[in-house]
Symmetry: C2
Subunit: 238 residues, 2 copies
DNA sequence: TTTGGGGTAACTGTATACAAATCCACGACC
DNA sequence: GGTCGTGGATTTGTATACAGTTACCCCAAA
């Protein structure tokens, strides 16, 4: 990957966005470990831009929770946010609440769109079941399918505000999911059943049930993940 | 008010924050009308700082939804976000979901804290009832009490992430509430009863009920507000 | 009177120089 | 040997100059 050229080639007003996306990618995929210090000048040099667009990207990452300021001093020293069990639980509950609202709206969608969505979700979940059933499941594929399942509801049914919020928070859950997906692969079958509940509720237009089903799915996921984290240990704390 | 001196006196690393807070205050209180253009140079001059901290403040306001970019062009021209019925409904539902999660946690609080919170909420709601019962209610006082009622749950029971999210979204609901509070004063009694439901659920430690009660409260508030907006007309659109 | 085009003014994006504040290491003194 | 202080290096915060783009205004022509 050659970030230098990407950022340079970017048109004027996209530079902060490009830097933001690249950094986020690095954080989510763990290439920037929790606790790492982010130095403006280093980043600027690395992407071949000045500190100005870098500042924009960092501020956004900070506001969205990907990076935090070192606790000690008044002058802010941004570091990659740590991954802890408590944070995971809170984060998953929040994402669950937001996606639950989407599901609520999805269940109230007018008829042609709703059936289409249900069909789509059913297909994805079936694929997910098949992928999980194989002897050595492809973790990346599992994650992608699960991701798409949740994403579709939001894309179709959420309003602009909800979409914005979701897109800024969801990737942070991705940090945890990507790290622990190998440990979580064994817990797929309850998740599959929960997805079926969601689909059924949306199909019959039962908004309250759809909402509750999504909340359950995420709350259970938080519990499963929390247990795994406690077993394996936190990252970025000691 | 003399913003010049405020921003100047602020210590180095607080300047963007001060500008942010002042601008947000102006927007929330309607002194900056929906659709107004925000020009970096003007703001910088007004607060007697350079464009750099102003940019930080604007970026934050944009990300939180207080300002939007003029629809047409690639270069961003920030304007104060319009107020519409649809947006109000979506916004209130989101805030409701977040506060519902807080209430859920509040109902699971360990014992000394929970009783204290319940007592506090009961007092506030009683004051609210008294204030609403007087012949010519003080709208500002009504709003403050209602605000405090909702705020306490979050302060006591929410985790750091939830608090952060809430503090960035809630003031946007405030924009609507402050504008329409005079029209909404007549609808206080259902809201009072809904508050009582919340208090009762937390008191008996019924987390699910507390969550549902908060969601109902906000969803109904969204409906009441939506009707008022449709009657009175949107702001910032025509 | 309205519409189209060109030119100018205004505003934002970027880069960079400078100032202030913190951290780190080294050394002196107890 | 340990601890505290001081000086330099590092890094962020701020201001400002410059470049590129957009919008607006004015004037001419239909």
């Amino acid at each position: 990957m050659t970030p230098r050229r990407l950022a340079r080639a970017a048109t004027r007003s996209d530079r902060p966005k490009v830097v933001y996306e690249q950094l986020r990618e690095l954080i989510v995929h763990g290439r920037l470990a929790p606790g790492s210090r982010l130095v403006e000048t280093d980043i600027a040099e690395r992407f071949a831009v000045s500190r100005t667009p870098v500042r924009g990207a960092l501020q956004r990452l900070r506001q969205e929770g990907y990076i935090v300021d070192s606790p000690s001093m008044r002058q802010s020293r941004p570091t990659v946010a740590p991954l802890t069990g408590d944070d995971a639980r809170e984060l998953f509950d929040i994402v669950g609440q937001l996606e639950a609202l989407s599901a609520y709206n999805a269940a109230e969608l007018p008829e042609p769109a709703r059936t289409a969505l249900v069909a789509e979700l059913a297909t994805i979940n079936a694929d997910l079941g098949k992928a999980a059933g194989t002897p050595r499941p492809d973790h990346n594929r599992l994650w992608n399918l699960d991701e798409r399942f949740h994403e579709r509801c939001v894309e179709v049914a959420a309003g602009p505000r909800l979409k914005l919020l979701h897109s800024s928070i969801k990737p942070q859950a991705e940090r945890y999911e990507r790290l622990y997906v190998s440990y979580l692969a064994g817990y797929m079958s309850p998740s599959l059943a929960e997805h079926d509940d969601i689909i059924a509720a949306i199909r019959r237009g039962d908004a309250a049930a759809a909402k509750a089903a999504v909340e359950r799915n995420w709350h259970n996921a938080a519990e499963r993940l929390g247990q795994v984290i406690e077993r394996v240990g936190d990252w970025g704390r000691w």
